[in-house]
Amino acid sequence: MTAALRFDPIRLPPECEVLRQEVRAFLADEIAAGTFDPHKPQREDSDAPEFSRRVGERGWLGMTWPKQYGGHERSFLERYVVTEEMRVANAPTRRFFVADRQSGPVLLKYAPEHIKMDILPRICRGEVCFSIGMSEPNSGSDLFAAKTKATKTDGGWLINGSKIWTTSAHIADYMIAIFRTSPSTKENRRHGLTQFLVNMKKPGITVNPIAQITGQYEFNEVVFTDHFVPDDHMLGELDGAWKQATSELAYERSGPERFLETYYVLTELVRAVGPKPDTRSAEGIGRLVAQLHTMRRMSVSVAGMLQAGREPVVEASIVKDIGTIWEQQLPHRVRELAAFVDADASNHATLDEQLAFAIKTAPKLTIQGGTTEVLRGIIARGLGLR
């Protein structure tokens, strides 16, 4: 077999189902208390510090990390359940999501001990927000074209240049960024970039919000002017950031957030159609549910492989590729079906509002976190084509 793709039928163990009920009960209480409205993905203010703390109190942040850093030493499958229930409920996870998924694990692997002891427990308590500083005005898919510079100075580095499209930078406490510490070499154009931990509350950083086509402000331009980063904030190998990037990707690429971002329109369509759909609506819903179920089974399967200590890079890229395309198409398919819904359906206005938002959201889904084209390049490499 040229391409040994594996998607074992992993089932979530019983402790996950107990946890799922706890998460659902918690979210129901939060909804009842008015923290958020599950029917409104287009919330204006998506930063919810108090909610974030309460999630931390429940022990649902840093779930898989060692206890000495405030973690809970639970499984990836348990974390999976918490993530998907939050996503389906449209809970306001912005403050902690990136830190919990991505930044924490990077720090665990590459940060010095005293920094881990300082920051990781605060992530677990839901107190700190992280952003990711990779893209620049002239460096997107081609990450290794990054130019923002870190220049050696006494006791640390001076940063000059700018990052762009930085999600949550306007509320973030920290950023994990890559900066140029040396020029690339002839032999290796990926050489010369180093990963750093940036304290966003220190001087020399200006954050300029950028409006998105949805009307929201999620991402930003971040300008660095002689911003000082101490030596111990360098993460991993000098000039070797490229070596650190790939193994993180399986975690980033296959989670439930990669196919559930527009899920809410499907629930609302089912509600609008009612218990006795006509053939056209029934077929449309059936096809969408079959896709949803399949995507989820694939994603759980990758989570199970991660739990087993494997690095399913190709499978994870496949899940993100077809998952993001599905969540991008979903609002359009729902729109087609909604055209035949009874105008008197009690949730018609909600559905219309959600569709308008989801259709505007859709284009970003195949761009953020690596475009479809980039993912297919990775899959092609996994197939041995490059």
Binding site: F7, P277, S281, I285, R287, T294, G382, L385
Partner: protein, 270 residues
Amino acid sequence: MLAGWLLAQAHLASPEGMMTVAPASPKDRITLNADGTLTGRARGVPFAIDAKHIAVVATGIGGVSIALVDAGACRIEAGLNLANDPSNTVTFDKVQPIAIKSAPSGFGQNSLMLMGALARSLQIAGAMETMLDLSVRYSGERVAFEKKISKFQAVQHNLAKLAGETSAALAAASSAADALSNSTSFDDAIFLEAASAKIRCSEAAEKGAAIAHQVFGAIGFTQEHILHRYTLRALAWRDDFGSESYWAVELGKLVASRGADELWPLVASR
């Protein structure tokens, strides 16, 4: 295999020689008459013309029964599916079964359709693994414009898409197989698994077969080349035991009747 499974549900022994099952389409019904004979018509029965026996699900006043029938006692019309495999209309005209027993409780006509749909889903997933394997290998051999075609990004991306569809088919089919083999009843969750597998694998077959043929160019369009043995079969199997549009309607009805707020709990229960 499916016939053996079906007979085993009613503790009937499987005879020697080739068997098939009827009905093979959700709209067809075989009736068990008061005198113990069977009447009805089943279309699209795979390999009926070559089979010695047929395992049959029949419905009578007493409920659902499973019967073993001598294929020679039925009228079997010649017919071929897309891949030129026999696919026959079988007419039962007061046929006396060799053996017949009541189906176990919870087993209905739909149970055979779900199991048949699952079997076809697994076959489609397997065919797609081979399509992917053949296509990847060929793209590394065929040269055009002085390059292996695997070096063209458009070809790479097509193959990545084929890998995605193959993965979806594999995941859906193996999940449903795992679910059915660990379950004794045919509840909503099993229905979700089996129906989704048939829908998703059929959709994958359409997209995947098109890509595989595209990668092979003209050579893959020839009778002599092996590719069509996989592509045409995968496409043909979409029609057996309920097509993807049939199952999508049924699954959509199930989801709608359970209500919007029960959709996620159903999906998350798997």
